[in-house]
């Protein structure tokens, strides 16, 4: 005997005890017979029918007879639609309000879901982790190949470990050379991520060797964009930096490289530990590992730390600290964006709450107007539950229409939203309005419908306790107006939270743009150019080409200063080196102070208007002075190395490197390098000429008279004329570069301001609605007051007092809430405390003014009430 079906066990206690054994026993018997003689499906269908009828006839909680709940629900929906058609403005306001909240909610959820919640598009992504070395201050730093190889050979808790470095290359082509972002990876990179190729094959171990790494794998987008999705590409040869490379594979469409989000082409790294750039301190590799199934990350980390202490005791001068960091891939990739994304998600949730409160409020007001209808229906025998069902059905029509419109809105908003995301954010291609999100919003709409239906019903039911005879004007609608006032107080409080957030973010951005960034971005244009390929085999040819580019740019009318530099401040990249002072012996070369190195050709400091604080700027002659190899350091680097001393003529060098000792000839002002809010200004500037090798890539900076955006095209043309086969990318004004560096803040601010405006508007409408309702309910009372001698002033006071009481209560609650919640914005704030009283009180004041205006309109209507007309009604 198998156990009874779950349904039977569920309904058994619900059957009247006298008949329980008989009926349930028969149900089981019938079910078993059906299963043998008919089919399992037929048996189950029969069982459900039997169970329903048994409950109807013998249930302890009888099911209403002759009412098919489903059929009557649909008729309710139809009726609801008719009601809405009769009051189109009411319906439109409700639907638009909900759409304005549901649209942004859907859009934000679509952005946040793939970034924070959906698993990365790799096999078993929860087993993947970054392995970082531990820096001097415990922060994560990248790793060198020799360290990587030690981990690969010795760690037993890792299924595999791969290393990746970013890579730029040029897809050579006569008519359309293109600069590509890519990555150099160890042969097992895609195997570690568990990503199979869509076309062709993965790299082999043999290909990951110097001079054998002449193969590439293409991303799906590159394959489509440049090779027309031609599947015969596999095995064909393409030209990168004018050298032949064989395409062996194409990645699947859903592949997304979270480590190098813009990478479109991949080639094997080709290192062995004996290469000079594979050393332990050559830390330019990111290590990503798959931890063995069933091994907790803690245990793997313990093993790695043990390996680290062995490495550090073998090579004490080459590690700043003992230990590794093992960070789950998805969390670590999103660690910077996460707080902002969560804050925005919270903000949109507040907007949704306010919108729902507003729509419920509108329905409460509407239900007062429909009181007669409900009374008639009740008198004709409609039960309370039946009336609730009616209201929920009407709510569902409104909520689903709002959700539908909102989803359309989300579709329109989403592309704009994605284009404003910071460029460095991975997973952008995965941002779509997914069916899962549509489903979630459908459920939200149903929940909204329940609230819309249940709140007025609950309020109405409570009010009947007052007894239906007490229908005097004063009593009329007491329950309603209390409920509506409560909702409005909540709306004002939530709107204040959003307004405070928007205020704090905008103050932050203003302060951020206000700070002295150390250079003058106005009237400067920049672009990246390069000199790569067989025609530029050595430093001399690269540097000669660079000088030709500078000369061409300088000849453009309006250009006053030009220079080339290896990286731009706030441009997204950093080139950091440890710095050793000759007169200060280092006890540990890896713990030397770190500074960003700018290799320059031409008048870089002058072009950028970076002030020389003492000594002199670099000159063209310095480039040839290999004996002293002059260098300019930033003020904060000088302070770090020689606090209180004059740094001029002191000598510095990069420890563990073949660079010469350089003589300091000048001190420059600090500039903001990583981001506007990062005040680490330690930097050094030196002529590119005496670095070990000249980078094939450089950034041109040119200062122009007049509008930089107008000059941009002319300068670009001049640069391109030097060698048309070399692509130019990122041509933009320096102001644009600075602005882009704050993309995340700007997006957060934009959204918070939009949400706050919407929230304030809704809260204002809420205040207005409640007061307007109460004025029309109290028309008679106000008429009596006026007849008895109340002045216009008294009437204003009567209405305003009530409205402002709601507003002030809401503002009080909102301020209390703001004190608790604004700290979640901390990571987005700059130069302003989360509880900044000016911002908080200012926001409250603004909202108070809006509420006051919202009160004035109904108050004016109250004053205009003619006592005679009011009393006659």
């Amino acid at each position: 005997m198998r156990p009874a079906p779950r349904l039977v066990r569920f309904i058994e206690p619900l059957i009247q005890p006298d008949f329980r054994g008989a009926i349930i026993g028969d149900l089981v018997e019938r079910f078993e017979t059906d299963r043998v003689h008919r089919s399992a499906l037929a048996a189950h269908i029969r069982l459900w029918r039997e169970a329903f009828m048994a409950l109807r006839h013998f249930g302890r909680f009888p099911i209403p007879q002759r009412v098919n709940p489903v059929r009557s629900f649909f008729s309710d929906v139809r009726y609801g639609l008719r009601v809405l058609r009769r009051t189109p403005s009411f319906a439109i306001v409700c639907i638009v309000t909900l759409a304005l909240a549901i649209g942004p909610t859907a859009a934000i959820l679509s952005v946040v879901d793939p970034l924070l919640f959906r698993p990365l598009p790799y096999g078993q992504p929860d087993r993947l982790a970054f392995i970082w070395e531990r820096g001097g201050n415990g922060s994560p730093i990248t790793t060198g190949y020799s360290t990587f190889e030690d981990i690969q050979n010795r760690a037993t808790t890792l299924a595999s470990i791969a290393a990746v470095a970013s890579w730029q290359t040029t897809l050579s082509s006569a008519e359309n050379p293109e600069r590509l972002d890519g990555a150099r990876v160890t042969w097992n990179y895609f195997r570690t991520l568990a990503v199979p190729m869509a076309l062709g094959r993965d790299f082999t171990r043999e290909e990951d060797a110097q001079n054998k790494n002449t193969v590439v794998i293409l991303s799906h987008t590159l394959w489509e964009r440049r090779f027309s999705a031609d599947s015969s590409i596999v095995g064909r040869t393409i030209s990168l930096n004018e050298a032949p490379r064989t395409v062996v594979g194409v990645l699947p469409q859903q592949y997304d490289d979270v480590i190098n989000p813009s990478a479109e082409i991949f080639t094997p790294l080709g290192y062995v530990a004996t290469l000079p750039w594979a050393c332990r301190t050559c830390r330019h590799l990111t290590a990503v590992a798959r931890v063995r199934d069933g091994v907790p990350f803690d245990r793997s980390l313990a093993e790695l730390n043990q390996l680290s202490s062995q490495m550090v005791s073998a090579f004490p001068k080459e590690y700043p600290a003992v230990g590794f960091l093992l960070k789950p891939l998805q969390q670590d990739v999103m660690r910077d964006a996460r707080p902002a994304l969560l804050a925005i998600l919270g903000a949109v949730a507040l907007v949704l709450l306010i919108a729902v409160a507003n729509v419920v409020n509108l329905h409460l007001a509407q239900s007062i107007r429909r009181e007669t209808e409900f009374a008639v229906r009740a008198a004709l025998g409609a039960s309370g539950g039946r009336l609730v069902q009616q209201l929920v059905a009407e709510g569902l029509s409104v909520a689903l229409a709002g959700a539908g419109l909102g989803l359309l809105l989300a579709r329109v908003m989403l592309p704009g939203l994605v284009s404003r995301l910071p460029a460095a954010l991975p997973r952008r291609s995965a941002i779509h309005l997914e069916s899962g999100i549509v489903l979630i919003l459908a459920l939200v709409a149903v929940a909204i419908a329940l609230v819309i239906g249940l709140v007025p019903a609950f309020v109405a039911r409570r009010r009947t306790l007052y007894s239906s005879e007490m229908r005097s004007a004063a009593r009329h609608g007491t329950g309603h107006s209390r409920a509506r006032a409560t909702l409005v107080v909540g709306e004002v409080a939530l709107a204040l939270l959003l307004l405070c957030g928007a205020g704090l973010l905008s103050v932050s951005l203003v302060r951020l743009f206000d700070i002295d960034r150390g250079f003058d971005a106005r009237n400067v244009v920049t672009m990246s150019f390069q000199s790569s390929g067989p025609r530029y085999p050595d430093n001399a040819t690269v540097l000669a080409a660079r000088r030709r580019v500078l000369a061409a740019a300088a000849s453009v009318p309006g250009v006053t200063d030009v220079a080339a530099v290896t990286l731009l401040p706030l441009g997204g990249g950093l080139d950091r080196y440890g710095i050793q002072a000759q007169d200060k012996p280092l006890d540990h070369p890896e713990r030397a102070p770190v500074a960003t190195g700018y290799r320059v050709v031409g008048d870089y400091l002058k072009t950028m208007r970076i002030r020389i604080l003492s000594g002199r700027d670099l000159t063209d002659a310095d480039a040839r002075d290999t004996a002293t190899s002059p260098v300019v350091v930033s003020a904060s680097l000088a302070r770090t190395l020689w606090p209180g001393e004059n740094p001029i003529d002191k000598r510095i060098k990069i420890p563990n490197s073949k660079t010469p000792w350089s003589t300091i000839v000048g001190v420059a002002a600090d500039v903001r390098q990583r981001s506007l809010n990062d005040d680490d200004g330690r930097a050094f500037y030196y002529p590119e000429d005496y670095w070990i090798f000249a980078l094939s890539d450089a950034v041109l900076v040119a200062r122009v008279d007049g509008s930089p955006s107008a000059a941009l095209r002319a300068v670009r043309r001049a640069v391109a004329s030097v060698d048309p086969s070399q692509p130019i990318v990122n041509a933009r004004t320096m102001d644009d570069v600075v602005s882009r560096s704050t993309a995340q803040r700007q997006l957060a601010l934009l959204l918070f301001v939009a949400f706050a405006l919407l929230a304030v508007l809704l809260a204002g409408a809420g205040v207005y609605g409640v007061l307007a309702g109460s004025v029309s309910e109290r028309t008679k009372e106000i008429g009596v007051r006026t007849a008895l001698g109340a002045t216009a002033r008294d009437t204003y006071a009567l209405v305003l007092r009530r409205g402002l009481a709601m507003a002030v209560l809401g503002l009080g609650l909102g301020l209390a809430g703001a004190f608790v919640t604004t700290r979640y914005l901390q990571s987005l704030l700059f130069g302003v405390a989360p509880n900044d009283p000016t911002v908080l009180l200012g926001s409250a004041g603004l909202l108070l003014i809006v509420s006051f205006i919202a009160c004035l309109i109904p108050a004016r209507r109250a004053v205009r009430i003619e006592p005679m007309i009011a009393l006659r009604e």
């Binding site: 005997m1 008949f19 008989a22 349930i24 028969d26 039997e50 048994a54 006839h57």
Partner: protein
């Protein structure tokens, strides 16, 4: 004078057909087989309990059995009163139908 509705007639006749084994599933099967009517157990028990209140059937609980998950059967029997009213009603029906050419015939 009591009369039976159609449902009550069907159930009463099915109980009589089933003899000593008259409980829910058996009654249901009899009605389905002979009258081609698909009644649910709930409906049948509702009818039976109505008839029991009026005194036309009696019921008693059987022993709990394993194939029903240890639940007892409730056996029904038609009382003399039930039989009498049924006979009267059926003979009235028969009398009314006799001589009519409506395909009813006489048993």
């Amino acid at each position: 004078m009591d009369t039976f509705g159609e449902l009550e007639q069907l159930v009463l006749l099915a109980v009589m057909q089933a003899g000593t084994e008259a409980y829910g599933v058996v009654v249901q099967a009899a009605i389905r087989r002979k009258a081609r009517r698909d009644l649910t157990l709930g409906t049948i028990y509702k009818t039976l309990s109505r008839l029991e209140i009026k005194g036309f059937v009696t019921s008693e609980l059987g022993e709990p059995t394993a194939e029903r998950g240890g639940r007892a059967k409730r056996y029904y029997r038609v009382t003399a009163a039930g039989r009498r009213v049924l006979q009267a009603q059926l003979s009235a029906l028969r009398a009314m139908a006799s001589g009519l050419d409506v395909g009813l015939g006489t048993p």
